[in-house]
């Protein structure tokens, strides 16, 4: 009896904590990026705010060594690389000139210039300060937060292509899920054939492209870009390149393996697109509507 009495508070504590964890997981699953619960404040936000400078400090000596080595190695073949790049630049300039001529001839250049302002999205440069402490998830911590205008649901890109999506923010830091994460799924299209499919993270350095076989044309070397459907990512951001296409057999769906456009092993600087996709804007608008209706109720009664 005495043993039972001694164990009851421990059992109650364990049951309570387990119940809390399960409820927290369900709530977290249901909240989409862009929901107010994703904006961390109080002690939860403070931990993220502390983590960013601490991780930067820990990584500093390693960064210094790595950069010194990288610069030394890059100097060794700088001359050859320079020659190659000069030749490539000349070829690209020539191609660019020809494309401009063609656009002017078709009268589309002026229309593109007019509509360009609508597509321009402000970009916030940000530094990657740490990665996920668990090897089973692929997320990163960046050193920009709500103070700089970052909100959950905003896409993150690098100069090479799509990096991921902001999933939680604090005052001076933000957490972002990479496209490599097992929970990541992006609507993509093959740039050449416009075949549509889903780009899924596998938790490794590769991605899967799942598409319906009927009417799809997917080949090795094809570039996959965001389709803009789903509303999270803007259309046309480079995601990855097809490296192999599996044998479909009798299945309706086929899978191609992709190599991401971004080298995540060397990722240091990223850009946060300071505008959420259309779906994010709808969620944001509904939050705003909720706020407005609350204000109206407070002022004029139900």
């Amino acid at each position: 009896m005495a043993e039972f009495r001694n164990r009851t508070p421990v059992t109650a504590l364990v049951v309570g904590l387990v119940a809390f964890a399960v409820v927290a997981m369900v709530v977290d699953r249901r909240s989409a990026p862009g929901d107010p619960e994703r904006e961390l404040s109080g002690w939860t936000g403070a931990i993220l705010d502390i983590a960013a400078p601490v991780q930067k400090m820990i990584a500093f000596p390693f960064d210094l060594t790595r950069n010194a080595w990288r610069h030394y190695v890059s100097l060794l073949d700088a001359s050859d690389t320079n020659e190659g790049l000069r030749a490539r630049l000349a070829a690209v300039e020539e191609e660019n000139l020809q494309l401009r001529e063609a656009l002017i001839a078709s009268g589309r250049l002026a229309r593109i210039a007019e509509t360009r302002a609508d597509f321009e999205v402000p970009m916030l440069p940000s530094e990657l300060v740490g990665v996920d402490p668990s090897p089973w998830f692929r997320s990163v911590l960046i050193d920009r937060g709500r103070e700089q205008g970052v909100r959950s649901g905003m896409p993150i890109i690098s100069e090479h292509g799509l990096v991921g999506l902001v999933t939680a923010t604090s005052t001076r830091a933000a957490k972002a899920m990479l496209v490599l994460d097992r929970q990541s799924a992006i609507d993509g299209i093959i740039q050449r054939s416009r075949s549509q499919g889903i780009v899924r993270g596998r938790g490794t350095s590769e991605l899967d492209f799942e598409f319906v076989i009927r009417g799809s044309d997917v080949r090795i070397g094809d570039v996959v870009i965001t389709s803009g459907l789903g509303g999270v990512y803007p259309k046309g951001i480079r995601i990855a390149e097809v490296v192999s296409v599996s044998d479909p057999g009798s299945a309706l769906m086929q899978t191609a393996k992709l190599v991401p456009a971004v080298d995540f092993g060397r990722l240091e600087q990223v850009f946060v697109m300071l505008r959420r996709g259309p779906t994010m804007e709808v969620i944001y608008a509904s939050e705003l509507e909720g706020d407005l209706s609350t204000m109206a109720t407070e002022r004029f009664g139900p």
Binding site: L13, F20, A24, R29, I50, V131, S134
Partner: protein, 179 residues
């Protein structure tokens, strides 16, 4: 109380260190310091209720820094503490090899638990071949680091409990030999 705050601070620092080191080394080749700390608590912490609460808090901090679902690490840390406490009462986990073996097994179980919880509550794949391939080196490295980490947790815990209690160790010095 100092003991709780000190271990909480170490527990908060552990995922931050791992996150920073992970930018240079693949994380499955790094020991899971958070898990090892909780195993250490399970083996040496006197109060079960306090240990459970501390493990849950350490799990919550890991959840905040990780891309996992909120509560996922918390649940697994409570499980890890419970497993360490139960096994230490039933088995002899005093030596280096028993501790390392136990941590290898626990790492496998918690990783499978992570996969299962992500598949059930989240939107991702469950456990797949890729995960199992990464799990083997990760479990072995955790096992290799386990005896050292558990020993450190024990030392810190014992030292801080003396500080908490305000005890002064009685120091016995040999008398000067009479000539």
């Amino acid at each position: 109380m100092k003991r709780v705050f000190a271990l909480l601070a170490i527990g908060a620092l552990a995922p931050m260190i791992q996150g920073a080191v992970g930018t240079f080394v693949p994380l499955h080749y790094c020991p899971d310091l958070g898990l090892l700390l909780v195993v250490g608590l399970g083996l040496c912490w006197r109060s079960t209720a306090g240990g459970v609460a501390l493990s849950a808090a350490l799990g919550l901090i890991a959840d905040l820094l990780s891309g996992s679902l909120f509560g996922q690490h918390m649940l697994l840390r409570i499980f890890a503490f419970g497993a360490a406490r139960a096994c230490s009462q039933q088995l002899n986990l005093r030596g280096v090899i028993p501790r390392a073996t136990f941590v290898v097994a626990l790492t496998v179980v918690t990783a499978l638990g992570t996969g299962a919880l992500t598949a059930f509550f989240g939107a991702g794949h469950g456990v797949d071949g890729e995960m199992l391939r990464e799990l083997i080196p990760h479990a072995l490295i955790n096992g290799a680091f386990a005896p050292l980490c558990v020993w450190l947790v024990e030392r810190i815990s014992n030292w801080l409990s003396e500080v908490d209690a305000g005890h002064q160790l009685l120091q016995l010095r040999p008398r000067n030999r009479l000539t």
